[in-house]
Symmetry: C2
């Protein structure tokens, strides 16, 4: 085995350059985070484990980006501007310096793109495989924080982007879909959607200004909508033809209709699901129509007793056995 | 296998009761943390993995406490008052509800004892064994934050408590020490010191007011002192007879002198190591002598060129091959 740097060299060489003000170049045990007067700090923590959330042989640069972006996605969904993050990195026995260098490069690229700094964290030996636990911090005016809990009857329900790409990208990677169905570009599109969530900070002020409830879609659209409705004590009526799907997903659903369930109840979309009060929808549309983000109205908030319903073209109701990715 | 609650029931039943203001009963994706005007937030993140930082069959109540306390120890070392924490809990295949209930009880007891609340986090499947990553938050007046970087030549060097108990408790647990050397109470004392760090918030204002540099001792006194000195660009002269040791540690060192190395370079003390400017020492002593905490002066800060030196009774210098627990 090539000689490997020890923990302190590793931190000094690859992670200290990512640290920001108050992190003491990662020479200290903790970091000092400033929160501007009048702002509040939004805190979220999501962990990824090899073999569960990513494949051990995925590119380390992309693993790093996914680990950071699943957290950024939560911040943006709350209407918060990404600010900083802390990372606990558990390395398996086989780690090597090249892997770390690529992993740190992924963090560096994304923290630059999202204007964040590293506050610190921990590196440790993880016998069961690489594990990454990121705690991300965002800033928000207190009144702008958008929870899952505020949807009201009559609100319009929106999603960003397209739904189901990542879940089908995963099935493709796992060989559960005949890859001959797709052309080369379709295949790489779906797989990249699985590998790399695409949250965008541009949505944060829009959510903050207009949304009554908001979350990111990480465990499948239908299950996550059920969670939002439960937290807000409401129901929802959504319409299948309104749910935005990419060309490759539309294609597979036409060929194998069962994959509508994969698309709507699989995980890893990392798109936003949010509600906007009916009287704000026109203004919301005006404020967002120039953004380079597709935003689709998929339904309307109903009373809790109406349940969470997905209607087909012909008005018939679709339902699925499992509406959500199960964590365990 | 008995049926197990799903992620959401688990969170609702065991973790939501631990959550505080701004955590929305853990129904939301994130939490909203208030930082009082004029205060800064201290952030630290330490992870523990089964088989590395604890034994998989340790009591879950104690595993929870250790996971929280290693982070609290960092906060107190920075002069910060513990405030809140977030947890990513990776569960292995074999988890059961009883384990979770006991784990949550450990968190509940300690967060009450340290006056903290849970902000949120993540639960996930961890194929390699239970992994706990806690991010802890403390509050501090900005000017009171005490890093490792501020020690100056002439400062007195202090430690709290006794050194080496946990490292010898671990050796005892691992069967690397003949347990017949110790009586029953000595054995349980050493093993408890390994299992359960004993940080105390009482030290936070003392560190904030008097210390020029501070850290907790997690990887062994000598190695951690070297780290503090490196960060502060100073050296240190310390005296073996001044290093506080419990009766069981003194006993084993008398019988097997090599265990002085175990005691001074092993990990898991979670005592505080800090420096106090010479002109504040009298006032510091007056301010702390009524605290129920033993505080020992072990040496003095020297110039960087003098290195980090440990002197024996007779003025001879002790040195060890390895001065620190290696994380990998």
């Amino acid at each position: 085995m090539k000689s490997r740097p020890d923990e302190f060299d590793l931190i000094a060489k690859y992670f200290a350059p990512l640290s920001g003000e108050g992190a003491f170049g990662l020479l200290d045990d903790a970091a000092l985070l400033s929160v501007p007067d009048g702002k509040k700090l939004v805190v979220t923590q999501d962990a990824l484990a090899a073999g569960i959330h990513f494949f051990a042989d995925d590119l380390p640069r992309l693993i790093a980006k996914k680990a950071l972006r699943v957290n950024i996605s939560d911040l943006v969904a709350k209407g918060a501007i990404p600010y900083a993050y802390s990372i606990a990195l558990g390395l398996d026995e086989d780690w090597n310096e090249k892997w770390i260098a690529a992993f740190a490069k992924g963090l560096a690229e994304d923290q630059a793109g999202f204007d964040m700094v590293l506050t610190g964290g921990d590196t440790y030996k993880s016998p069961g495989g690489t594990t990454i636990s990121i705690t991300a911090f965002g800033l928000v005016d207190a009144e702008d924080y958008t929870s899952r809990l505020g949807a009201s009857v009559g609100d319009a329900i929106f999603v960003t982007g397209t739904i189901g790409d990542a879940a089908l990208g995963l099935k493709l990677k796992q060989g559960e879909i005949d890859s001959r169905i797709f052309g080369k570009h379709e295949k790489s599109y779906l797989q990249e959607r699985y590998l790399l969530p695409q949250p965008t900070s541009m949505m944060a002020p829009v959510i903050a200004e207009f949304a009554s409830a908001s979350m990111d879609i990480s465990d499948g659209l239908i299950g996550d909508l059920e969670k939002l409705c439960k937290a807000s004590n409401v129901g929802a009526e959504t319409y299948l033809p309104k749910i935005p799907m990419s060309a490759p997903v539309s294609k597979i659903v036409q060929i194998i209709p069962d994959h509508i369930q994969t698309a709507l109840t699989g995980g890893d979309d990392y798109e936003l699901l949010f509600t906007v009060p009916q009287n704000l929808v026109t203004e919301f549309r005006a404020a967002t129509h120039l953004l380079p983000i597709s935003i689709s109205k998929i339904g309307v908030v109903k009373e809790a007793k109406d349940g969470v319903v997905l209607l087909n073209d012909d008005g018939s109701q679709l339902s699925f056995g499992n509406t959500s990715y199960k964590h365990f």
